[in-house]
Symmetry: C2
Subunit: 211 residues, 2 copies
């Protein structure tokens, strides 16, 4: 069976709780590697360079783009966000499932380059809850919250592009659900071509009586 | 989230252990209903009418076909096998996941009628193990075993038509895996259209500030 790493893209509305989910998933199971994005946006209170993001200048980011060092990048609310290539490819080769937390434009770019990527979309249980979480965070201005709500409306149009949705109602059960969905993905025929070919070969030999 | 029933088709080589897996799955979790097929083949030792199969005459089977009372049927090794429609539709409406154990021809017919059916293929860990199990069952003649091996070669050509494969190495872990794959399937966007539409509607109302 397939134990090659799967590239997992996690998207979801701002405030849906993706960051917390991902951290918990990586803590609880040891087959995951969390990709850290590079961004030109300013760090929020409590964020650390290399943990939440690699915080870089616009110039450094554009140099990375030119060198082909990002597997995807996008501009969102005036800032660049991108995924460094090195780390992702190294972890996949080592058989680990690599998780990228990126928004929909990036997710679709990933799908084009990595056809077997798994796209997951995290939803709040309802829209009121989303607004409550965005407001409750206390780190954003009313204007930013409003812009994010408008953005959520836009992003919601793309949900059907994803392989699975998960509802982040209860953290523990949502983490378990994510893990099970990813485990299931390892069992798709197209991720197990070698194993299927092996069984086919063995069967035809045995069926001919050549033991 | 979706709690509509999913129609689950389980196929796999004869001897891969589908029957035992299905029984265990239904015992361990309460969201499943196991569809019992009708067949014109003779009962094996220990098989009971209405439990493993509904054993019917060729005439009775052909009457069912004519009445549209089967959602699929096929001829395999000279006998008819088919799925009675009533039971399946009633259970799906009641929100239960209905499991059909049928071979590939039937599986593909189901897919055409029920586009959201989930197709699972049970594999042995290797082909030798399959032959061992077929021989070990002790209820079949050498000729039947040989015919089944040849049939397995044919069926193996269709594995890519299935959504997932599971390897029946260890019964307990295989049952758990099946359950998790089915649970994951409830989270696909196309099985949650209503929920997604509801969130979209709520979001656009909230984004306009109409609380």
């Amino acid at each position: 069976m397939n134990r090659k790493g799967i590239l997992i893209v996690v998207s979801g509305f701002s405030g849906a709780g993706k960051g917390t989910l991902m951290k918990k998933l990586v803590q609880e199971y040891d087959n995951y590697a969390l990709s850290v994005s590079a961004t030109t946006r300013a760090p929020r209170a409590g964020e650390e360079d290399g943990r939440e993001y690699f915080f870089v200048t616009k110039e450094a980011f554009e140099r990375k783009i030119a060198e082909g060092g990002l597997i995807e990048y996008a501009c969102y609310c005036g800032n660049y966000y991108g995924t460094p290539r090195d780390y992702v490819e190294k972890q996949l080769e080592a058989g680990r499932d690599v998780i990228l937390e990126i928004e929909i434009q990036g997710a679709l770019k990933i799908r084009k380059q990595f056809s077997s990527a798994l796209l997951l979309f995290v939803m709040p249980p309802d829209a009121q809850e989303l607004k409550r979480r965005l407001t409750g965070r206390g780190t954003e201005t009313a204007e930013v919250i409003e812009r994010r709500m408008a953005r959520a409306v836009e992003e919601s149009e793309g949900i059907e592009e994803y392989d699975y949705i998960v509802v982040n109602d209860d953290l523990e059960s949502c983490v378990k659900q994510l893990h099970e969905i990813i485990a299931a993905a390892h069992n798709t025929p197209f991720r197990n071509e070698e194993f299927i070919e092996k069984i086919r070969g063995e069967l035809s030999v045995l069926a001919k009586g050549e033991k």
